[in-house]
Symmetry: C2
Subunit: 482 residues, 2 copies
């Protein structure tokens, strides 16, 4: 069904507008807003019964910096170069330098755009490791203060959060879709785009299914694909990103790669289709107070990095991995940062724990002895964990199986990873979809996780909503002016 | 230049044949042979001035088994299931089970096909770790006897080699192209295919550049793309397999992904474009006698695995990696397995070596102490290296920087890795190229490294020539019968 349809075969259009946006997540809202505010007639097609997509189901973090008012109010000084230096390393190797440069240079303006759309940020810092603060604090660290990133850029927190306790994706998307609607964008829901309509080598619309009927929509200036990634499409995962097969999902079945396939069927190029975010359901507040070990009982990273990065490192370790803590460490995890996670094993000695976890005899004892020796000296000589989290571990010990997930699951949850895809259509910095020959395909744009964005092999919270909205806006502006 | 050309725009064809094969490496030769022997009129287009491609520059190993005459003569009993069990693990995770099943079930017949084409195999085993035997022995181990593979399948050697000392790719390709030519396939050299010609949704030929002129060739039954991978195309590497950027190459500039791009421009699907083989220029005969350590001075794998696998593991370790040996180990490496590789560092103590290599103080001492303790007990409790290679290491010690490469280089050679790409066009088991919609594209076939074959994320020598010829033959037969 993804094969392009010649315009000559289309007999009737439900509507004809300047700009057709396919998918009403964050990138679609940003594109729709900018095109509409520039005076274009905009229609957003959304396959669900309402707007939001995966963006609305997310934590709502936005990776922003360079000196935003929230950073300044919290006492931090930042600039675009400093932000670039951190992200180039943390999203790497192989971050997209051209897109990243624009993203960092435009970050303060992008913050102001969110404020203009009605997103509110509390000017306070949540100063503890967490996947997501349970407070309304507007700023959080996302690993900027962990080695080696603290040696590559001046450590400044850049995790910006809408003023909501916990999951803030809905808050964010309510603001953005309201802003787009107010700017004049119209929406048609329950309408799933099926193929691109092509005329003389130009994309002029899409076909769609709507309540069981085949319909078509025409676009005078162009189509923006903001249909999301492909984590919900097992066949595409098997073909392009098998690391995520069998893992948990962060989406709700909607990220089926439809936009990527519609465009690829027309000869569009894709990029970095194997790159993924794969996150452990392990608690940063617990992990940093103890250690993360692999199936050989060895540490392999400083546990205070952004938890997506310690998770990603675990993908390449001999498994299974375990979080090892002692009683004092467990006690020190603030109740609000526990998320229902409980130790799966407890033991009076490391030898006992090695036996329970199936680790090589003596391996954990050796790892803890080295760790404790370094902790006593005040320096993690292997992985440079911040001394704030360094303390000799003492019996009794506990282990947490990351597969048990948040909320105190009684059963392992898949592999313990959940994630999403980072690869997608190859786009210019203005969202033009490039063909395999490297030329823009007339009338076709993409943004958000349907496209390959600023990311290399790494990932930091807030960079997907951040990049989706930033380049969604650029695509909307480019189309309105095209 | 890769955009498909409508047949209506082509005014003249240089030739019209049944089957057009694009690229005269091993997959092209296999396809051409089978199509020709089945009675089809076959023309092979080759961009170089003669046949061979990357296949001719390779070591010429063929991964074959299931009970070949060479295996039997050397005293080994094998079967297809045993071969499948090994390859599923060694080429995994995510090997293509359907293709792999056919490959293993057909392996003895495929061996006989090579013999029929005039490839000779000496019925003797080279029983030492090596990238490539300097003898004419016809059989070699490729990690089948290393942990954990020896626990998953009965260990049997399956590396088959044409009777040539050292690099045997030319020997192999001389035989295959002679067989294809004798079967009736014609060849046009110095002719670089540029785009597919399409008529009514069917591929009916290719356009090409020949001595500066644009020419066209027509195919009545179809076109087989056997144009190789894309390791020589830096832009495609950046887009799909950045792990190989800046690394050494095993090809000669010809693997530029042209066939993959020509087909993708028509809406063909690709698969596993990020999967690569990346091999260290480290000597198996030296590594297995000592240890391979990462930038923390730690071992991370049993050093007797197939060297492509210890190399691949090194890609995910904190670098730089080092080969550590002692004097006795160095002395024991047979002269014929040294390939000019020399230690880059020597030291009387491990502390001195740690300092010279920039490893954390005490790290190498701890690693060697554990290793020696296990060696004295006769068991590598961490990585299960075969006891044959286990012996306590004693001063004086030496280290080899894998970046210095073979032949005693005086300067580091890139990153020390060289490799090639494993991803490519998504094909059926008969070589039909599938569209993004999952349907065969009429008239279009592919095999060899222009296609995604039996491989998952792993690689074993001989599986690329093996899969290229096996599925090249299937494509040729399918086309002849289509």
């Amino acid at each position: 069904m993804v094969t392009p349809v010649p315009a000559a075969q289309v007999t009737r259009y439900e509507a004809e507008v300047d700009v057709l946006v396919v998918g009403y997540g964050c990138a679609g809202a940003a594109a729709a807003y900018e095109a509409a505010i520039a005076g274009s007639e905009v229609l957003v097609l959304e396959r669900a019964s309402g707007p939001g997509g995966s963006s609305a189901q997310s934590g709502g973090e936005l990776y922003l910096g360079g000196g935003t008012p929230v950073q300044t109010a919290c006492g931090f000084t930042d600039d675009a170069d400093n932000m670039f230096a951190f992200l180039q390393a943390a999203l790497g190797p192989h971050a997209d330098e051209a897109k990243l440069r624009l993203y960092c240079d435009g970050s303060v303006e992008h913050f102001e755009w969110f404020v203009g759309c009605g997103v509110r940020f509390t000017e306070s810092l949540y100063d503890a490791p967490s996947w997501m603060p349970p407070t309304t604090d507007g700023l959080m660290w996302l690993g900027e203060n962990a080695w080696p990133y603290d040696t590559l850029a001046r450590p400044v927190p850049r995790g910006h959060r809408p003023a909501t306790e916990g999951w803030a994706g809905h808050t964010l998307m309510d603001a953005l879709t309201t802003a787009a609607d107010t700017a004049g964008a119209r929406t048609v829901t329950d309408t799933r785009a099926t193929a691109l309509i092509v005329e003389d080598g130009r994309v002029v619309g899409v076909t769609a299914r709507r309540y069981g009927a085949d319909v078509a929509y025409r676009a005078r200036r162009g189509v923006v694909l903001t249909t999301g990634g492909f984590v919900d499409n097992e066949e595409m995962l098997a073909d392009h990103a098998p690391d995520l097969l069998g893992h948990g999902k962060v989406s709700d079945g909607l990220d089926d790669g439809s936009g990527i396939r519609m465009a690829a069927a027309l000869g569009a190029a894709t990029r970095r289709m194997g790159f993924v975010e794969a996150a452990y359901t392990a608690l940063p507040a617990m992990v940093c107070r103890g250690m993360l070990v692999n199936g050989l009982g060895r540490r392999f990273i400083n546990e205070d990095v952004y938890p997506g990065l310690f998770s990603h490192a675990a993908l390449h370790q001999p498994g299974p991995c375990w979080v090892i803590v002692d009683e004092q460490g467990l006690d020190e995890v603030p109740a609000r940062d526990r998320w229902g996670v409980r130790p799966t094993h407890g033991a009076e000695t490391l030898a006992e724990l090695e036996g329970d976890l199936g680790l090589p005899a003596g391996s954990l004892a050796e790892t803890v002895a080295t760790y404790n020796r370094h902790a006593e000296g005040g320096q993690d000589l292997l992985f440079h964990k911040n001394p704030r989290w360094l303390r000799p571990l003492e019996a009794p010990f506990a282990a947490v199986d990351p597969r048990y997930g948040f909320g105190g699951s009684a059963q392992p949850v898949g592999t313990g990873f959940s994630g999403f895809t980072l690869g997608g259509l190859h786009t210019s910095v203005d969202g033009e979809v490039l063909s395999v020959a490297g030329e823009p395909i007339p009338g076709l744009y993409a943004a958000g996780r349907a496209a390959s964005g600023i990311h290399g092999a790494g990932y930091i919270s807030g960079t997907s909503l951040g990049d989706g909205t930033f380049f969604g806006r650029r695509a909307g502006r480019a189309l309105a002016g095209s």
